[in-house]
């Protein structure tokens, strides 16, 4: 069972790496959106440093939202999804492996690039470190919740912005605590509470989201 988990991850990562477009574009989107804000607001250093947590988090959130809708699309089109649904392995685990591959190929680059963007926005090294940790804890939650949305819209052709509209309200708690942690870091306050809550969000999402995604997939495919 674990072997099937690893096989799918390997396969997914290899496929995504071949189609560089699919993971480089969200990364570029992320960088460009973050760069737009100083252009829109002005180069005031203190102001940028103050709103940097919000900018980076919202940009990462948007980058994930616009690309995760296609998590199951090619699979559904090629009939691969039907095979997954019929397989003897647990659908939850298979969905988990897909989500992990997505996170690995789409979110990990975001996390690696974020310190550079922090530099653009005048973050201190302490804030940069907090940024990386909050993104490490937060982006999996965003991917997990987004996957539920992806499962829901898998049957809908041309769903456009439906998935972002659907899933964004659910992103509010993790956004609040992710940016809250960074603001606490800028004020040199203790961060353990924030990380603990974000870790709790991660564990709860991990427990429920793959399951719900599987349910949504079964509903969406049985048309």
């Amino acid at each position: 069972m674990f072997k099937s988990f690893l096989t799918i991850i390997q396969h997914e990562i290899r496929v995504t790496m071949r189609q560089a477009f699919s993971w480089i574009t969200p990364l570029l989107f992320f960088v460009i959106v973050v760069s737009l804000f100083p252009l829109a607001i002005g180069p005031d250093e203190t102001l940028l440093r103050k709103i940097a947590p919000g900018i980076i988090w919202v940009a990462a959130l948007l980058a994930i939202l616009i690309s995760i809708g296609n998590l199951f699309r090619t699979d559904a089109e090629e009939g691969y999804l039907d095979l997954l649904l019929l397989s003897p392995h647990s659908l939850t685990l298979l969905v988990c492996s897909k989500i992990f591959s997505y996170w690995f190929t789409h979110c990990l680059p975001l996390i690696l690039v974020s310190p550079l963007l922090g530099l653009l926005l005048n973050l201190t090294s302490h804030e940069e470190l907090t940024l990386i940790i909050t993104l490490l804890l937060g982006t999996p939650v965003l991917c997990l919740l987004g996957a539920v949305g992806a499962g829901l819209v898998v049957g809908i052709r041309g769903h456009g912005l439906l998935l972002p509209v659907l899933i964004m309200p659910l992103y509010v708690p993790i956004l609040i605590f992710g940016t809250g942690a960074m603001m606490a870091a800028s004020l040199h306050q203790p961060l353990n509470g924030y990380f603990a809550i974000m870790g709790a969000f991660l564990l709860v999402s991990l427990a429920f989201a793959p399951l719900l995604t599987g349910v949504a997939l079964r509903i969406g495919v049985n048309q």
Binding site: V148, L152, V153, G155, I156, H159, L162, V165, L166, M168, P169, L170, V172, P173, I176, F177, G180, M183, F208, L212, V215, A216, I219, G220, N222, Q223
Partner: protein, 235 residues
Amino acid sequence: MFHWIQKRFLAPKAFYRSSGYFLPWISLLFILCFSYGLISGLFIAPADYQQGDGFRIMYVHVPSAFTSMAIYLVMASCAVVTLVWRVKIAAICMSCSAPIGAWFTFLALITGSIWGKPMWGTWWIWDARLTSVLILLFLYLGFIALQSVMADQQTRDRTGAVIAIVGVINLPIIHYSVIWWNTLHQGPSISQFAKPAIATPMLNPLLAMIAAFILFYVVILFLRVRNQILLRKML
């Protein structure tokens, strides 16, 4: 009691008949509660010490906020019944409740904003309650958007049920996150906006209005579900 409800409301035909029987009585009850709440709230209840007559907006704002959340809970319960037991009438109730809930949420936001202008000096304030209600509106609208896109009835019901359940699980999390976020970012001036303890002559119209709003929801829900039963030829 459960069996009583089941016998009269489970099958679409039974629902149509029972709702037709109860509708006049519920409408009457609504008119009574609404009239009492409206008249005593606007004219009889004494003016508030701090807010003067402006506090009377509470008699439409609080019931609409309460009802908007209550409707979401009803929607989510119907969603569970739809997914687990595949009860058709529950799916119809869920779909019909969403626009009504969205209207009440919208009403809560507008009346809250109008109440805020004279009391807080601003049309909008990012306090925990208004922000949570705003997100609730997004949840409703997302549900309606999802339902509008799908053609197949069964898929529409079941995917809608999933998103409704996901939303209701998140609702308390979102609510408490927003409260926490608000206390973190609050200025010192917000402390004077705490809800004051409410005196009895002011309370009764409020309870009547809350009951009236809930009854109105039931009336509109019954009307719309009956329409759906007719439309889908389940009679």
